[in-house]
């Protein structure tokens, strides 16, 4: 195992730069000239940009510098991970008939994965093995902004491995792909997985990323995911964030899709310490549908920051964005949703809404919708609500014998329902609903109720 312990006596930036220099050739496709070139450029940009401070608008509410400043180890080659199939069993989603790619500490582990049923022409595997794939050549690094996004630059400089998915033209993948991301670190660990999903024209795929921690080690995961959807293609990407309370992450997703295609993202954040989700989606062709849904259930001292951009560079497209927060305890959520409509992007319908349920006086929400519109024939709207549970409704439920905690839990689940309704995979919506129920305060046990409801509605 090759590992570098970051030298904490040095400044954060210098630490990463010297780690880069020491381990020059050890990254993904170390011999691939174009990747190597991107890496050199990225470490350069990382140095120039520096670690984000709260003086920068995009990081005003999230102190990522102190998360980055911890004494992590930086793995530079595959580790012997102590994970068995039995360890993962509880985390496979019941009733979800899926192709499963397991990633341990950010790297695919094919021995733990279940990919036998994959159609032959579809590729699901390791990014480091994809160097010669034409889709890798065509799309890697094309959408991720390593020029202006410092964490993306850092990831690009240290890129080693991650998931690679390629669905060729005209292939509609029936079963979804489950990417099971498990943190199995023994020591404090910094991981930088890099994923690339390519769904070609007229192809269809659904990808579910589920993030978990198997050990209690303090981790920081700086992920970059690039997504491409060709004309008339379809990609639905779910992310279920359920890492431990001492796991922090920045997940930067860059999605680019062509005319008549659909790109949907659903982001569920249920645990973690500091979670920052950057999302940049670019529909670049007519009649694109771009969807962004998110649900944050905050508890303890969780800090969750969703920073999204829908970049309407092309006319005649629709985007829908709905993020909901349920904030308990001392949790904090940040929502910064930007919709950018360029001057020639006429006839855009862009909807954004962000609703927060603040259940505790110590919980906080910072929300900032931003609509920047330069075209004149567009329909754009945004709405933000922040509030508490309807006490009339709580009372009405209590008069029917439902105890107060359950009444509040049911109403909270109902609040989240609008996002859950967008989930098209039943096994996922049920799993998510259970997780929501399980994260509700006081009386946590709505499990039976969710199961009964799904049985009754079947």
């Amino acid at each position: 195992m090759s590992t570098t312990t970051l030298d904490t006596s040095a400044q954060t930036i210098d630490r990463f730069v010297s780690a880069f220099q020491v381990n020059h050739g050890q990254a993904l496709n170390g011999t691939n000239a174009s990747v190597a070139k991107r890496r050199e450029a990225a470490i350069q940009r990382f140095q120039e940009l520096g670690v984000p401070t709260r003086k920068q608008e995009a990081w005003k509410y999230t102190d990522i510098a102190s998360v980055l400043d911890r004494p992590y180890t930086l793995p530079l080659g595959p580790e012997e991970a102590d994970v068995s199939a039995a360890d993962l069993d509880p985390y496979l989603i019941d009733d979800l008939d899926a192709h499963v790619l397991v990633l341990v500490n950010g790297r695919p582990d094919l021995s733990l994965s279940q990919l036998d049923a994959m159609p032959e022409d579809v590729t699901v595997g390791s990014l480091k093995d994809a160097g010669d794939h034409p889709a890798f050549e065509a799309h890697y690094g094309e959408y991720a902004d390593a020029e202006d996004e410092v964490l993306t630059a850092l990831n690009t400089a240290f890129v080693q491995d991650g998931a690679f998915i390629h669905v060729p033209e005209d292939v509609e993948l029936e079963q979804p792909i489950l990417l099971l991301h498990v943190n199995a670190a023994q020591d404090d660990l910094l991981m930088q997985p890099r994923h690339l999903f390519v769904v070609e024209a007229d192809a269809k795929a659904r990808v579910i990323g589920r993030q978990l921690s198997l050990t209690g080690a303090r981790t920081f995961t700086n992920t970059v995911t690039e997504m491409f959807v060709g004309e008339r293609g379809y990609l639905d990407h779910y992310v279920i964030q359920e890492e431990d309370d001492n796991a922090s992450q920045v997940l930067s997703r860059f999605g680019y899709h062509e005319g008549d295609s659909v790109l949907s993202t659903d982001t569920f954040t249920f645990s973690g310490e500091v979670v920052r989700n950057n999302m940049t989606l670019t529909p670049d062709g007519p009649n694109c549908e771009t969807n962004l849904y998110g649900l944050v259930i905050g508890h303890g001292s969780m800090h969750v920051d969703n920073n999204t951009l829908v970049d309407h560079v092309h006319a005649d497209c629709v985007s829908n964005e709905l993020y909901k927060h349920v904030l308990n305890d001392q949790s904090t959520a940040v929502f910064n949703g930007k919709v950018f409509v360029h001057r020639d992007s006429q006839r855009i319908d862009a909807y954004q809404s962000n609703d927060s349920l603040v259940l505790n006086n110590d919980a906080q929400i910072y929300t900032k919708p931003e609509l920047e519109i330069y075209a004149d024939d567009v329909k754009c709207s945004h709405g933000t609500t922040t509030g508490q549970l309807d006490e009339e409704a709580v009372y009405a439920m209590r008069t029917r014998g439902i105890d107060e905690a359950t009444a509040r839990a049911l109403l909270t689940l109902a609040f989240a329902g609008e996002v859950l309704e967008q989930v098209t995979l039943d096994a996922i919506s049920e799993r998510v609903e259970l997780a929501v129920a399980g994260k509700l305060p006081e009386r946590f046990n709505l499990t039976g109720l969710v199961e009964t409801a799904s049985a009754l509605n079947a």
Partner: protein, 255 residues
């Protein structure tokens, strides 16, 4: 022992120095149907709300005993578990809360309190279909969110449907007839009549005698200015319809 004994009940609104009920006395025995009529603002709905346990009302004097126990000591949900049911004048919409989840949770908590077993999914569904029929409620409404998108009539029928599901001992119907057309009124009344039993008492709060043509009460009370001004049988309701409340308002009740 009477089922419900209200004695000299004085009630004010929290934070305000306004007394709404000014010494109400009312005794209801098992199986009886009582109607309370009275002009707007006389305190009828306040009495219903206090029985259900609404928190913004403060009892400043008097007592309410239910099954011999102090009802005011019980939390809202405990009253429901003990068999007190309030059909709301304005049923609350619960967006996103499915009727199924809502009813299952309600029925099972009341059953648990009665020492009965939880209903399994199949038995529960059977009960839903059977009781929905009582008030001619489309069982498909059960798949929707509570009261969301229901018509005014459906909301009122839904209250009686919930009553039928929860099988209370004391059912308080707060102006269930308001906003109903003649056909819906008859449906709701038929439902209530089918639910009458020797153990179950009803307290009907209404403005109109019309309801009492369908649900024949054992006793009628006139509430004026926070007190029961007169009690009688169903003929009192007919007299009120003819004479109005003026008589009571001119000569403040002698209580």
């Amino acid at each position: 022992m009477a089922l419900l004994e209200v004695e000299n009940l004085h009630v004010s609104v929290e934070d305000e120095d306004i007394e709404i009920l000014k010494g109400v006395d009312l005794t209801i025995n098992e199986g009886e149907v009582h109607a309370i009529m009275g002009p707007n603002g006389s305190g009828k709905s306040t009495l219903a709300a206090v029985l259900a346990g609404r928190e913004e009302y403060v009892v400043t004097e008097g007592s309410i005993r239910y099954k011999g126990e102090d009802l005011l000591e019980l939390e809202v949900e405990e009253r429901a578990e003990e068999g007190v049911f309030l059909a709301f004048q304005y049923p609350v919409e619960l967006p996103g809360v499915s009727m199924t989840n809502f009813l299952r949770e309600a029925v099972n908590s009341v059953r648990e309190a009665r020492g009965e077993e939880e209903l399994g999914a199949a038995d529960f569904l059977k009960l839903v279909r059977e009781r929905a029929k009582l008030v001619d409620l489309d069982p498909d409404l059960v798949k929707r969110s509570v009261n969301q998108g229901f018509s005014g009539g459906e909301k009122k029928r839904n209250e009686i449907f919930q009553l039928a599901m929860l099988e209370p001992t004391l059912a308080v119907l707060d102006e269930t007839d308001s906003g109903l057309d003649i056909d819906a009124l008859r449906t709701v009344s038929d439902g209530v009549n089918k639910l009458r039993s020797d153990e179950r008492a009803f307290l009907l709060i209404t403005h109109y005698q019309r309801l009492l043509d369908y649900i024949e009460p054992d006793y009628v009370h006139v509430m004026v200015n926070g007190r029961i001004a007169e009690s009688g049988d169903k003929d009192l309701a007919i007299r009120l319809e003819e004479e109005g409340y003026e008589r009571f308002q001119r000569e403040p009740a002698a209580a």
